[in-house]
Amino acid sequence: MEVHLQFLTKKKILISFALLAFLIFCFVTLNKALNENKIYSPIFKNEQVIYLPDLNLPKLFSSDEILLGEVAKYKEFSLVNIWASWCVPCRDENDFLKSLENISSLQTIGINYKDKKKNSIKFLNDYGNPFKYNLVDYDGTASIKLGAYGVPETFLINKNRKILLKIIGPINNDHIKRIREITND
């Protein structure tokens, strides 16, 4: 093979280094993304405490926005439920959510996920509204920030938004028991 070193022009060396740096950057980032746990679970490692991010969310029945952390302060415990009218398990879940109404230290916050306003209001009229506060996440970005990866998903948090319990999928009887245990009801 006749390879001469002519190919090593200044310009090429510069481009090579830039490309190499860029590639290393991509590799490191992607590698980090791979190892990151995207779904945080309530079984915290090393007693790690995780807080639900604080977000401004629009209300369903009016046009103003409210801070999630603000709402959470109203009671000792809050149950944040992410739901949608097009989500079938959310319908089954509705009764369970209603059964929590009698816990005095608990309030329920519904976040309507990627939904049409008309449909979501119809859903609440048809099946009943189990939520004290109705908030909206029109494009799904808030739910991603909260760490949810689908509907339905539920967080039990305390006044300071500390996550006490996270439920992926519809709520069942066992979850209700756990919620009652945590809220000392």
Binding site: L23, T29, L30, N119
Partner: protein
């Protein structure tokens, strides 16, 4: 020894054959020993043979429901119809990689067989570079995704295939898509080899073009099948969601399309050498990136498959090693292929190819950024965003107008130089397009200026492309694909501007009105099938002319695994689809009914078929030229 052990052993022998092929190819370049060529040929055949044996062993395990095999246990069930037992093989991570290996090894064998009249060193370098990929995938399968893992004690029943994957379109979607994806590996290896041996010329372009065409045609087919599946099975009434998994099949398609145009320039005019090489490399990189993104579980998407970080890290390292190798080779051997210093006249086919390439690269960048950006942003700032249709619509649609206009004149340009003289037909084109646009806009009752301009440019594109069929010495494959593309864009446009949707909760016996149609909910039937039981709603749609159309949407409850899916009822007519899904509401009396009118749905499939027919035509047309 169980049969699964044989499958694993066979893969191991396949890997050994790959090393031997690699070794012999390197030797054959150094020394001029002709008899090694036959040996390489033998071991390439052997390598393919071993992979096919393990493929058939896995297939056999699926057919007899051998649950001692973990892959079969996790993805099959005794009550599954035989068709889905077969497709269950590649409906999972391990099996689909085995399919990938099968296509990979068969392609290099076919390449070696069909390239006998090309330079010896070029062929051997192609085999060397390709074997690096083959070996990488062999090790990947054997180390992290062995499809022949054994379970003990042997379970009596399997877990079953995810019911949304039990669909005829999706059953053949992976093989078709993989032929497209894997075809790009040959393009990649051949580009590097041509670079090293200084063979980047019009002869190389001519031979490579058929591989580009094959990959491009199959990739188009794979994307089409995926869309059809999403439309009929997912029950959302759409066919493209800008989902990351869809995007990663679109990205290699875009760069392949650019390469397809670029390689013709290299073939005819001996221009754009480096650019062709870069596109060849980029296309394969995008295919592997796609594999990485889907298989690593790095994306949160509707159809994410595996969630094993060790697999992700393996592909990531593999991807970057390949990128690194190709960069090094590109920088060392770039000077070996001296670019012709020919002037490009601005009114020429060369210019239009360049314009096409610029657009393709722009579209590609938008899709790439939309797919990758959320991952990077999450890692660097821990901010989580979701990139959806609005992003793509905003960035892509405005650029479509000039793209369509250029596309309508580009193909009629001549190589080297085009002389524009006034012709009466130009006035005719303009008047005809304007007329057709006015009629269309009137029927759609559209007032949006952008949509009107889009319709105008698309009508012009369709007319100009159709007119190309009448010319002498015209490339019918290209004309067909271009016409198909114009029709596809028109159908998508009409479909998106005039779809309607109604959502109602109704009881049996109720009816509701949608535009000029009356929809009546007649009754509910229940049925028991082999692997599921279903609730079927019987609906009647009566329009103004008292024509009655029946729709039977279904809710299926599969037995293994127990999952309820909603099967849309779709009535397709030439001009619109009626699309209906039902869902149960808790008190069982009411049903949630979603009824959609989707105009020109079938034309989206038909026009994509025309694009594919055009590609197929071009593949066979080229072959005729060789003889």
């Amino acid at each position: 020894m169980t049969i699964s052990d044989f499958g694993y052993l066979s893969l191991l022998f396949g890997l050994i054959s790959s090393f031997i092929v690699f070794f012999f190819s390197v030797l054959n370049i150094k020394k001029d020993l002709f008899n090694l060529e036959k040996k390489i040929y033998k071991f390439l055949t052997l390598q393919f043979f071993f992979v096919i044996i393990s493929f058939f062993i896995l297939l056999y395990s699926f057919l007899i429901s051998d649950f001692s095999n973990e892959t079969v246990y996790s993805n099959s069930h005794t009550t599954k119809p035989i068709f889905y037992k077969i497709s269950g093989l590649w409906g999972n991570h391990e099996g689909s990689l085995l399919l990938w290996l099968l296509v990979l090894t068969s392609f290099i064998l076919f390449f070696f067989f069909s390239s006998k009249n090309e330079p010896k060193n070029f062929r051997h370098y192609t085999v060397i570079f390709h074997q690096i990929i083959v070996i990488g995938f062999f090790i990947f399968v054997l180390k992290t995704s062995n499809p022949f893992d054994i379970l003990f004690p042997i379970p009596s029943e399997g877990l079953g295939l995810n019911p949304i994957l039990q669909d005829p379109a999706l059953a053949i979607h992976p093989p078709i898509l993989y032929v497209g994806y894997v075809g790009t590996s040959i393009i990649f290896a051949s580009a590097l080899a041509a670079m090293v041996t200084g063979y980047v010329n019009n002869l190389w372009a001519k031979n490579l073009k058929k591989w580009v065409l094959i990959s491009w045609t199959f990739l188009t087919g794979g994307i089409l099948l995926g869309s059809i599946w999403a439309y009929y099975e997912l029950g959302w009434g759409g066919f493209w969601f800008w989902d990351p998994v869809e995007n990663i099949s679109l990205m290699p398609w875009l760069s392949l399309t650019a390469l397809l145009h670029c390689i013709s320039t290299l073939e005819k005019r001996d221009l754009l050498k480096n650019w062709s090489i870069i596109l060849s490399i980029v296309t394969f990189m995008l295919s592997v990136t796609g594999t990485f993104l889907v298989r690593s579980g790095i994306l949160n998407s509707v159809h994410t498959f595996a969630n094993d970080p060790s697999r992700g890290i393996y592909i990531l390292i593999f991807l970057f090693v390949i990128i690194f190798i190709s960069l090094v080779i590109f920088f060392i051997f770039e000077s070996k292929n001296i670019e012709n210093k020919k002037e490009i006249f601005f009114l020429s086919k060369e210019t239009s190819v360049l314009i096409n390439n610029w657009f393709m690269i722009y579209f590609l960048s938008v899709v790439l950024i939309g797919t990758i950006y959320p991952i990077f942003l999450d890692v660097i700032t821990s901010e989580k965003i979701s990139v959806g249709p609005p992003f793509y619509n905003k960035l892509l649609i405005p650029f479509l107008v000039p793209f369509f206009l250029f596309m309508s004149v580009g193909p009629s340009m001549n190589w080297i130089k085009t002389n524009i003289t006034y012709k009466r037909s130009y006035v005719f084109y303009f008047l005809f397009t304007t007329g057709a646009t006015i009629i269309t806009v009137y029927f759609l009752s559209q007032k949006n200026l952008l949509i009107i301009i889009l319709i105008f440019s698309l009508v012009l594109l369709s007319i100009k492309t159709s007119a190309n069929f009448l010319k002498k010495n015209t490339n019918h494959g290209q004309n067909l694909s271009h016409l198909g593309f114009a029709m596809l864009m028109l159908s998508i446009l009409f479909n998106s501007v005039s779809s309607t949707e109604i959502i109602k909760n109704i009881k049996v016996g109720d009816s509701f009105i949608s535009k000029n149609e009356k929809i009546t909910f007649k009754k509910v039937k229940t049925e028991e099938k082999k692997n599921y039981s279903s609730v079927i709603g019987v609906f009647e749609i009566k329009n103004d002319n008292d024509r009655i159309i029946k729709l039977n949407p279904e809710i299926r409850v599969y037995n293994q695994p127990v999952i309820a899916t909603s099967e849309a009822a779709i009535k397709t007519t030439l001009f619109k689809d009626r699309f209906m899904t039902i869902n149960l509401i808790k008190d069982e009396q009411l049903f949630n009914v979603r009824y959609q009118n989707k105009p020109f749905m079938i034309w989206i499939w038909i026009s994509t078929m025309i694009i594919i027919i055009g590609g197929t035509f071009a593949i066979f047309n080229k072959k005729k030229n060789f003889n």
